[in-house]
Amino acid sequence: MESFRVRGAGVVAVVVLLLLAAAPAAAETEITFWHAMGGALGEKVKEIAEAFNRSQSEYRVNAVYKGNYSETMTAAIAAFRARQQPHVVQVFEVGTATMMAARGAIKPVHALMAEAGEKFDPGAYLPAVTGYYTTADGKMLSLPFNSSTPVLYYNREAFKKAGLDPARPPRTWPELGAAATKLQAAGVPCGFTTDWQSWIQIENLSAWHDVPLATRANGFGGLDAELRINSPLHVKHVAQIAEWQKTKTFDYGGRRNEATAKFTSGECGMLTESSAGYAGIKRTARFDFGIGMLPYWPDVKGAPRNTIIGGASLWVMAGHTPQAYRGVARFFSYLSSPEVQADWHQFSGYLPITRAAWELTKRQGFYDRNPGTEVSILQMTGRAPTENSKGLRLGNFAQIRDVIDEELEAVWAGKKSARDALDAAVRRGNELLRQFERANR
């Protein structure tokens, strides 16, 4: 008992000391930032927040890792319902419509910057990146943080062995098919594979060929949009890949990025995957590989246009003090500065969000040292985005992606024709869109 009391007194003393030590920090306004960047990227986010904290003394950004994208978003929503929401939360691109529809729960970035009196030039940002996160009339709602776009990775050594030019990746889908067949003839078990099939083979296919994915400007024009992914182009593309699956010219690897292992192990000669997969592939592949633009169908007029992004953006949540919002605005300006952006871009393989950061990276010679890393930016900025290639703004889109994944899997397995599967995806996807419309009226 005696020792217990002594220990109790010790605990009290320690707590008091800690409180005293923490006291001076209370003068700073604390800004909570929930993110979904694990591993090395998470360390980098922490580093950026700490650098910001050192750069000034008024605000303190506290970056907290909350799990994967879905978990982080769910956590933020639950926190909002309990009135404990963070100031800033990182939300993946398919959550955009949900966040945007929650008008009372968020503070649009353009309004935040104006109210805080922070210098903010929307023209400084790359429209292909920010377009996904702006209103139909061009007002920025959330700050793009990590954005990537799909590119083609190819095994240079396998290309050489198959008598293909290792400096020249296939530019079109028919060329890719021919190259894949040649690779197989030279002993590579599978020609090509893909990660993120819905994002790359459906969503980006649409934007890249300037074909609508949904009506109402891909949903930017209103909640009553309907899917259009059973167009002749979509059906032709999916039917072609299904044909290739029969001979392993294409081989399915999984819904997320599982197929990367098929490429890095040498099983498949080509891979369509996010530009942000670069660092991982470079680390694992034991062969020389190259990067090309995403292939396109040469018979489609206006193709190639530009690809769209995936990744996440930073949303500011409602219900905080003006003082805290000034801090958030300051932090966003810091994040957008060319030095921070260029460093983040070069470290992670994500796209830079401003022109200045892109220019800076060029001047630093990064693209010369790392050939292929600029392909993604060129592919996104080559031509101005149209309403078909600006991005997507569809509710319940995480579930719609699941539906598309399911239907595509049925096609690869030979259980459904491309036409039937895409018709079914449209029907099921539209039901989800109508549900979202009803819930957000």
Binding site: S70, F80, A102, D402, E407, E409
Partner: protein, 293 residues
């Protein structure tokens, strides 16, 4: 004078069961009531607008072909997991009961998988069967079978059933072993003297005397297959390919936490809760009659 231990305090018994009641109220009744409440509402994820919609969520579900398919998948999955986990555990328990040397080692090793978290168990099986680098799929390739659970729904189902059953075998094993050791040696020895072989002894004596254990384990395994297998499905197949392994509890998660359709998700939880209550009641009423205690 008669001596009896009588508790004078009227409140004491209530006080003693109070912790248990509080835990049940807080961790079962309160969340369950919240689910029932949410199931009759249509609400945006942030809770900014809420509408009372009566049974619209339930009607929508019963019309949804995906939901009905998930119900069928769950039936196949639960029956297979229960049957496989019980049969293999019983076999192992009977074998382990006869082992004399090194019995504790066998038992410890057989109980081990129970300590593995469902998601980890799922990942272990996933590694074994990975179509590209898995050792089992490699072995199958050597004998001319191309295993690919990423495209083949039947193979995916088999894989999640194996993983889910494997994890439950240990639990069943412990109960079977305890049940076996409580069967009197003399009864079995008497049967042996009468000339009954091991198989006959098992059918005529051991299994009937084990029936209370079997009954209890059937109930527990069905509940396990309905609810606790979420982590395995999530890690191994994510409900794919093409929805082939989407069981009800996984759909609750997907609609609620990926799709943020809280009303529909809650309605599914309520239905699931009713189904499990119904199954348990039915098992007690009909199965229990055949059990010899």
């Amino acid at each position: 004078m008669e001596k009896r231990a009588v508790f004078q305090h009227r409140l004491l018994p209530y006080l003693l069961v109070m912790p248990q009641i509080v835990v049940t109220l807080v961790f079962f009744f309160w969340p369950a009531s919240q689910a029932v409440r949410q199931s009759v509402l249509a609400e945006d994820p942030f809770g900014l607008t809420t509408r009372f919609v009566w049974a619209e969520n339930f009607r929508g579900l019963l019309r949804d072909p995906d939901y009905l398919r998930a119900a069928g998948t769950t039936a196949v999955f639960s029956i297979s997991v229960t049957a496989l986990a019980l049969a293999s555990a019983l076999l192992l328990a009977v074998m382990a009961d006869r082992v004399i040397r090194g019995a504790t080692v066998y038992r410890t090793l057989l109980i081990w998988p129970y300590a593995v978290a469902p998601a980890v168990a799922g990942v272990l099986w996933l590694f074994l069967f990975n179509p590209t680098v898995g050792i089992v799929s490699f072995a199958l390739r050597q004998v001319g079978y191309r295993w690919n659970h990423l495209l083949n729904g039947g193979e995916a189902m088999l894989l999640v059933i194996l993983a889910a059953a494997w994890k439950q075998v240990s639990y069943n094993f412990v109960f079977f072993l305890a049940g076996l050791s409580s069967i009197g040696r003399s009864v079995i020895e008497a049967a042996a003297i009468d000339g009954a072989g091991p198989a006959r002894r098992f059918v005529a004596i051991v299994f009937p005397l084990l029936s209370p254990t079997v009954f209890f384990l059937v109930v527990v395994n069905v509940v396990y297959a309905f609810f606790d297998t979420f982590g395995i499905v999530h890690a191994v197949t994510g409900g794919g390919p093409a929805g082939a392994t989407q069981i009800l509890v996984f759909k609750v998660f997907r609609d609620g936490f990926v799709g943020f359709d809280l009303g529909r998700s809650a309605a599914q939880s309520v239905i699931l809760m009713l189904v499990v209550i119904g199954l348990t009641v039915a098992q007690f009423r009909y199965l229990e009659r055949r059990v010899h205690y």
